[in-house]
Amino acid sequence: MSAILELLSLLARLITAGVFLFAAYDKVWDPANFAASVATYDMLPLWAVHAVSVSLAWLEMLVGTLLLLGLLTRAAALWACALLVFFTGLMIYAGITGAGFDCGCFPGGGEAAAHQAGFETAIRDIIFLVPATFTVLRPGRWLRLGGDRA
């Protein structure tokens, strides 16, 4: 039973890490493009767009890396949950206001609007919340560089 839970914990942690690393890679290497995506939401003043978009990209990258390595796992998973809750709220807002633009969440967006901001994207983020929450509740011990004294 314990081995099954450990396996589930490992899977949940690696899935969350994979989601965040995949999402962050393009944002970190092409900050101008991500800043343009952030600006599309028109929620931040102009002077805050670059600072927030760069910080958000690196936060996602760091959370993904820490989860992959199993360092500060519970804190990183809490950040993952917080970010996913925020993104879910943002997508619901975008769905209500009828925004027809790309959400800027993952690579492959742009004009094609492969991941259009709205209710479908909110559901996707809620699904991502499941493994992230599981990691918070049970970080596990397998393949981790650091412990949480959980």
Binding site: V28, W29, D30, P31, A32, A35, V38, A39, T40, Y41, D42, M43, L44, P45, L46, W47, V49, H50, A51, S53, V54, S55, A57, W58, L59, M61, L62, V63, L66, L72, R74, A75, A76, L78, W79, L137, A150
Partner: protein, 161 residues
């Protein structure tokens, strides 16, 4: 796991993660060529001149060309009467076509600004870089311009272009 004390215990490592993310982002921006400044270059180092709304209106009455730098969809819904469409994201494609027309105007006034975006600044910067001498940017969104007396045109559905 008792959630409240555990959450309190995680606040420090969470703050550490945030601080590291901010530090890495700042360092990356400083070192890497694709790093961003605090503001877009068209805003932090403008080649264009800002102009007050009443002065912009006077310039337009005196023959200045008015350019709408907002996305094409916004232009189709409403624009200042007589404004030419030159969206920021289509400038590379449209500018060569419009260049002879813009070159005839003694003065150009560009508008288009939202909370997070300032396409008018980018378009005006491009025009200045292409050698247009008198390029002004009038700040504010379309509603602000309307309140300041700019005549707004709202084409009927299907008639916009």
């Amino acid at each position: 796991m008792n959630p409240i004390p555990e959450l309190k215990r995680q606040l420090k490592p969470m703050a550490l993660i945030l601080a590291c993310a901010l530090g890495l982002g700042w360092l990356f921006n400083l070192v890497m060529p694709q790093g961003l400044g605090w503001l877009p270059p068209a805003v932090s180092h403008p080649l264009w001149q800002p102009i007050a709304r009443d002065q912009a209106l006077a310039q337009i009455k005196n023959g200045a060309m008015l350019i709408d730098a907002r996305p094409a969809g916004d232009y189709a819904q409403a624009r200042v009467r007589g404004a030419l469409k030159l969206p920021q994201d289509e400038i590379a494609k449209l500018y060569p076509l419009m260049q002879p027309l813009i070159a005839q105007a003694p003065t150009v006034v560009v508008y288009g600004q939202t909370t997070s975006r300032f396409p008018a600044a980018t378009v005006a910067q491009h025009l200045r870089a292409q050698g247009h001498a008198q390029v002004f940017v009038v700040e504010g969104c379309l509603e602000t311009l309307e309140q300041s007396g700019f005549p707004i045109q709202r084409p009927r559905r299907g008639a916009a272009s």
